[in-house]
């Protein structure tokens, strides 16, 4: 009983910082409709700035409070600066570009932070008053955590009062409920957006600095908190502060008890809860904001490639088939990588282009394919062809299952869920060491047989890409595009959008899985990094570089991106910074992709 109570309190205190961060994310979304991927970075900056301030202040409670507030204000100022310089330009862009650009910001901050604070974790030296324990239920409970528990409801009450009682709050609610109407009534959305972004950033900073006494400031906290905050905001309902509070409590408790009951499966448990909530309430516990699906301003028909282009393509294939005889090994390896990247990009393209669904976690299917192949090879001692076959099968089946309950969700909800799912696959890959070898990975996944591996890659790439392109041009493809263009109309002519999308999910997952399987054999190993967020973003960038509206786009994008990436890796150690800035520049300059040309102003 006492144990349960203590565990419950632990869950409560654990949820506070998550609540603060998620509340910031959710109010920003409510007013600006931007899902701020960089929100975790603001949280991280809160922790680092807090560390810098608190280590310089006298160690007593009052100075601690002052330091915490100063850190939160500093992050709020950073948020305001970010909004006025960058985010403001994103409001009119499709949500995918907003996600990507803010992801770029996150990459930049990831590289800048160690420059300013050094690469090591920074623990806060804890003065006695912070270290104290209090005896409740006959057990010791950290005094700081008890104080923390009070902060959540206080901030919630403050926010609710702000929303309900002030003119500023009234404006926020007006914009959250109906942006166009608010604009028509003369609400100055520019200023409001800046203020709200500062508020949200300040909340994230507060969350970051408050967690300092319990952990240390480190460079991984941005990603882990953003994934959890996404889950909270989706479960609570986008735009709802109270929903965020309830959902963080739920997640906090789930983690506190999950650690005890199912230490390895906490993340999976969280995902199950999320799935249950969303299948009962598709807008989350308290959400009501109607969400638009992908922006449809400039859609042009998919046309089959011209004769010339097709001849060129087949010519290139024939030429590549002879490559093992004349291309130096290093370049053959690069070419292999480009081909695999092209399969991955085409897989994602099916989902994002004709399917109209944003996937921010396509690494999940890539990784599942890679692990599926490697494990089939290792545990079943299967020959390589069978192991390669396992890749699309494993990934496709799991993608179909996952797709089955997420395809009803639209836009950002789907993007966040795919990301969350990929993180779960990643966590499983890291933690289920007996099966996956954890961070040590699975080694010795080498190709075998008489045929050079390159030919396997080339052959399967051609088959997979041709299949995907034919699917887009088929009856099914037309129906899928129909469901994307207008769901009510699709329903009214007897189509079933959910089912069409689920199949797209499965096909796309299977193709991405094949890419993963090929990559496993190409590298001779599988590591959890194959499932990391970076891999998903690789795919997104390839598709966006090439443009969503063309069939050839993802292939062009794969070639361009692999080249760009290799270049960055070779020329700078700050590749995140460079990549982040590149992403931001691309999004601002070429919202239609390279193949789409520069946007007319």
């Amino acid at each position: 009983m006492d144990f349960l109570a203590i565990q419950f309190l632990t869950g409560l205190s654990g949820s506070v910082s998550l609540f603060l961060t998620s509340a910031g994310l959710t109010v920003i979304f409510g007013v600006t409709r931007v899902v701020n991927f960089a929100h975790g970075s603001l949280f991280m900056l809160g922790a680092y700035i807090g560390w810098s301030i608190l280590t310089r202040l006298p160690h007593d409670p009052l100075w601690f409070v002052a330091g915490v507030i100063a850190a939160a204000l500093a992050v709020a100022a950073i948020g305001a600066a970010l909004e006025t310089t960058l985010l403001r330009r994103l409001y009119r862009l499709p949500e995918l570009f907003q996600l990507l650009a803010t992801f770029g910001v996150m990459l930049v901050i990831q590289d800048v932070t160690p420059l300013l604070w050094g690469p090591n974790d920074l623990p806060l030296p804890r003065p006695p008053w912070l270290r104290g324990f209090i005896t409740i239920f006959g057990a010791h409970f950290p005094r700081y955590d008890l104080i923390l528990i009070a902060v959540g409801p206080i901030v919630l009450a403050g926010l609710l009062l702000l929303l309900a009682r002030t003119r500023f709050g009234m404006l926020i609610r007006a914009c959250t409920e109906n942006r166009d109407m608010a604009a028509a009534l003369g609400v100055d959305q520019r200023r409001l957006s800046t203020i709200i972004f500062a508020l949200g950033a300040g909340l994230a900073g507060l969350g970051g600095v408050l967690i300092l006494p319990d952990t240390s400031a480190n460079t991984q906290m941005d990603l882990s908190v953003i994934v959890e905050a996404f889950v909270v905001v989706v479960v609570g309902g986008m735009g709802s502060v109270t929903g965020a509070f309830l959902a963080s409590l739920l997640i906090g408790e789930l983690q506190a008890f999950g650690i005890v009951l199912l230490p390895k499966a906490t993340l999976v448990l969280i995902f199950v809860i999320m799935a249950v909530v969303l299948s009962l309430k598709p807008h989350g516990l308290l959400g009501s904001i109607p969400l638009a699906t992908i922006h449809q301003a400039t859609r042009t028909p998919f046309r089959p490639a011209s004769r010339r282009l097709r001849l060129l393509g087949w010519g290139a294939v024939v030429l590549m088939a002879t490559a093992p005889f004349w291309l130096p090994p290093y370049w053959l390896s690069v070419l292999t990588e480009v081909l695999i990247a092209a399969v991955f990009a085409c897989a994602l393209h099916l989902m994002m282009g004709p399917g109209g669904m944003i996937s921010f976690g396509h690494a999940a299917w890539f990784g599942l394919g890679a692990y599926g192949s490697a494990l089939t090879l290792k545990t079943l001692a299967a020959p390589m062809p069978l192991a390669l076959l396992a890749a699309p099968v494993v990934a496709g089946v799991i993608a179909a299952l996952f797709g089955w309950f997420v395809v009803r969700l639209s836009g950002v909800y789907l993007a966040m869920l795919t990301l969350a799912f990929a993180q779960i696959v990643w966590a499983t890959a890291t933690q289920w060491t007996r099966l996956t070898g954890g961070d040590d990975g699975i080694l010795g996944v080498w190709p075998s047989g008489p045929v050079p591996f390159f030919w396997w890659v080339l052959g399967l790439t051609v088959v997979a890409i041709r299949l995907l392109q034919r699917v887009i041009g088929s009856s099914y493809g037309l129906a899928l595009i129909a469901a994307r263009d207008s769901e009510p109309r699709a329903l009214a002519i007897g189509l079933r959008p959910a089912r069409l999308r689920m199949v797209a999910f499965a096909l796309s997952g299977a193709a991405a899985g094949l890419a993963g399987g090929l990559f496993a054999f190409k590298s001779g190993s599988v590591f959890p990094t194959y499932v990391a967020v970076g891999k998903s973003v690789d795919g997104l960038l390839m598709v966006l570089l090439g443009g969503i509206e063309t069939l050839i786009g993802p292939i062009v994008g794969a070639v361009a991106y692999t080249g760009l990436y290799d270049l960055l890796l070779q020329t700078t150690s700050m590749w995140r910074l460079a990549l982040g800035l590149t992403i931001i520049a691309l999004v601002l300059l070429f919202p239609d992709g390279l193949a789409g040309g520069r946007r007319r102003p």
Partner: protein, 245 residues
């Protein structure tokens, strides 16, 4: 013979009771206009009739079957075509592909993954397009069409399954007066040729009184009057709803 029978249909959004206990019938082959001021609940009624939203209570009988809880795709298969108040078409496709998508669905040919769709049902699609006067625009992207042509395309889509009932929400809204007359004529001709019943809403009173066999009048979620055009013209409740007298 009664084709569509609506009984005590109700719907609320939040606390806002938008449709309150609406009941009416539509006979096979009959042309019925549903009119009423903006916000009366007409579009919401239509959305419940073809399954886009579920009613809170009440019953929708089509050909004797209770379809109140059916999904739009099932209702479409029964032979109910739908035109939306704000034209809903597939914006990234050519006009012909819009109709082709509907025909693929009609002929249950959607789940084919390999053969190019571009050669399928072209003649049938072109015949439908000819019927609504869009032949010259068949290969154009749907995004380039004038609004009136989009509404015609919607009619082609709604007719693609040889429906027994057409539900058309404001077919001439947003058009020039000449276009309006033409589309109204087209609607009448389509109905007479195919023998399908039409339930339509319309703000253009000329069209309503010209082609409707019968008129239903809704105000604030309630059906306040029903009768032939001559009776509606002189109905005091209708005059009150529209003219406030």
């Amino acid at each position: 013979m009664t084709l569509l029978s609506v009984r005590k249909l109700s719907k609320a959004f939040g606390g806002n009771q938008v449709v309150r206990g609406v009941s009416f019938d539509v006979a096979a082959g009959e042309i019925v206009a549903l009119i009423g001021p903006n916000g009366a609940g007409k579009s919401t009624c239509f959305n419940m009739l073809n399954g886009q939203i579920g009613p809170d209570s009440g019953e929708v009988l089509f050909d004797g079957m209770s379809i109140g809880s059916w999904s739009p795709d099932r209702i479409w298969r029964l032979g109910v075509g739908r035109g939306f108040q704000i034209a809903a078409t597939f914006g990234s496709m050519t006009v012909r592909d819009n109709v082709r998508a509907a025909l693929l669905s009609r002929h249950r040919a959607v789940w084919r993954f390999f053969r190019p769709a571009s050669g399928l049902f072209t003649q049938e699609a072109d015949a439908l397009l000819a019927r609504v006067g869009l032949t010259p625009l068949a290969s154009q992207g749907c995004g380039t069409l004038a609004y009136g042509d989009l509404k015609r395309l919607e009619l082609a889509l709604a007719m693609s399954n040889q429906p027994r009932l057409l539900l058309v929400d404001e077919p001439t809204a947003g058009m020039t007066p000449t276009d309006r007359g033409a589309v109204t004529d087209l609607l009448l001709a389509l109905a007479r040729e195919s023998g399908c019943a039409v339930l339509f809403t319309e703000h253009d009173t000329d069209a309503v009184f010209r082609i409707a066999d019968r008129i239903l009048v809704m105000d604030k979620g309630v059906l306040i009057a029903e009768g032939n055009p001559a009776a509606i013209r002189t109905n005091a409740l209708v005059r009150a709803a529209y003219l406030g007298v």
